[in-house]
Symmetry: C2
Subunit: 251 residues, 2 copies
């Protein structure tokens, strides 16, 4: 089962449809995989179901700064050839859904009701602009990943500013996505955040994830969060991930 999912994961990556978060596994290309986990059903949004919402696409809540940065990176996803044609550029936009697993067996406590209603934490609200608005772009050749994040009014911590936990959530999400793209499924083992300056609600900020090194199962990443023009540092973080087999979570 784990191997099967792993193969599908890599196949999905090869297709260029890069998985948007470490919690997302790729939809299989030939149907629901057989395995010992009877209750595991993988949703197949792009093949057999109604098209799910891709949260990484612009919506009416995106402000000018969010749109400016989005357009900057998006324009580098496809470039013109000398003959006037189009070809893949150095960057890829990473699509982002609020779930892929319909039923994810998760252990002792997980009831069927919880399973069926589960949603990715960063994409659990449909109201545009209310909470986490973000889009990530990856540059596989240069092993870079950036994320443009617009912080909604429901993320308040200190009065008028973004909650430290919401900042941690974005850092974990972006570095985890990046680590997964490079090394397959991972789990966070350590998150060490230095908060440098508070982020006013409504701001658009930039996260830059860097792959530092890999030692066996350990993957070392770092992340810098700055104002959209890069002039102000909001946080600096190191993250340690452990490479895992998908079966670890589906036990």
């Amino acid at each position: 089962m784990a191997k099967s999912l792993g193969r599908l994961f890599r196949a999905f990556q090869r297709l260029g449809s890069l998985t948007p978060a470490k919690t997302h596994l790729s939809p299989p290309s030939t149907g629901v995989p057989e395995g010992t986990f009877v209750r595991t059903v993988v949703e197949l949004p792009s093949l057999f179901c109604l098209k799910p919402r891709d949260f990484s696409l612009p919506n009416s809540s995106w402000g000018p700064e969010m749109m400016r940065l989005y357009e900057y990176y998006n324009s580098q996803c496809e470039v013109e050839t000398e003959g006037g044609g189009k070809q893949e550029g150095p960057w890829r936009r990473l699509p982002s859904y609020n779930r892929l697993f319909k039923y994810a067996p998760g252990g002792l406590y997980l009831s069927k009701i919880i399973q069926s209603k589960a949603r990715l934490f960063t994409r659990n609200m449909r109201a545009p602009g209310a909470a986490f608005e973000y889009v990530a772009f990856a540059n596989i050749e240069e092993q870079k990943c950036v994320c443009i994040f617009q912080a909604g009014h429901l993320l308040e911590g200190p009065p008028g500013h973004v909650h430290g936990g919401a900042i941690a959530t974005m850092i974990d999400t972006v570095t985890g996505t990046h680590a997964t793209l490079l090394h397959g499924p991972v789990m966070t083992a350590n998150l060490n955040i230095n908060y440098r300056s508070p982020i006013p609600l409504g701001s658009t900020v930039l996260l830059e994830s860097t792959h530092d090194k890999r030692e066996g199962r350990k993957i070392f990443m770092s992340c810098k969060m700055t104002s959209s023009d890069g002039s102000k540092v909001h946080s600096e973080t190191t993250v340690l991930f452990l490479s895992i087999s998908v079966s670890y979570l589906l036990r």
Copy 2:
């Protein structure tokens, strides 16, 4: 203004109505304070407004484990005297609201619309059981703070499990609340989390916050997150807070 808010904060603490989070400032006892921040209006939920919802009270979504732990700590908030009367016990339940500031001026980016709609990140959903269900209790004499946390289905990270960012959010919230109770308003400067084992969605877990030391403006806290019976460690964290003046955020 800052001094005025500081006095009100301490007065509120003396009254025993302990502030539930570092982002919450106490309502003044005599009306809206005058000051230079014309746009700052402090909501007065318990005195002049409709009673706001206290999210720390049980609701229909709380499972048996959440209720058992709640009743254990709640029973120690008021104890019987020898004469059969009642008196304050060693623990206090910390009330928890989704906002106190109606308009929190927060800097360049904060529009009036965002200000008026802002809600505390951990209390931004009204649907019982969907996201963060938690209640914190403090024992001031022993400088302890515990929090019972039931993780809802909208907090998913790895399939069937709680997102690392949601775990970070609870740790930041509980240790921040605890630090604020002991030392007044604080901001998170460093959050260093070691994730030991994943938390299945729907679980009830226990957070124990410890005050380690204070050095000038630096407040060192730690936090252990375990299964509800304490047998399994989910995470171990150190947190550094900086003591701040409220005016820092209202500039």
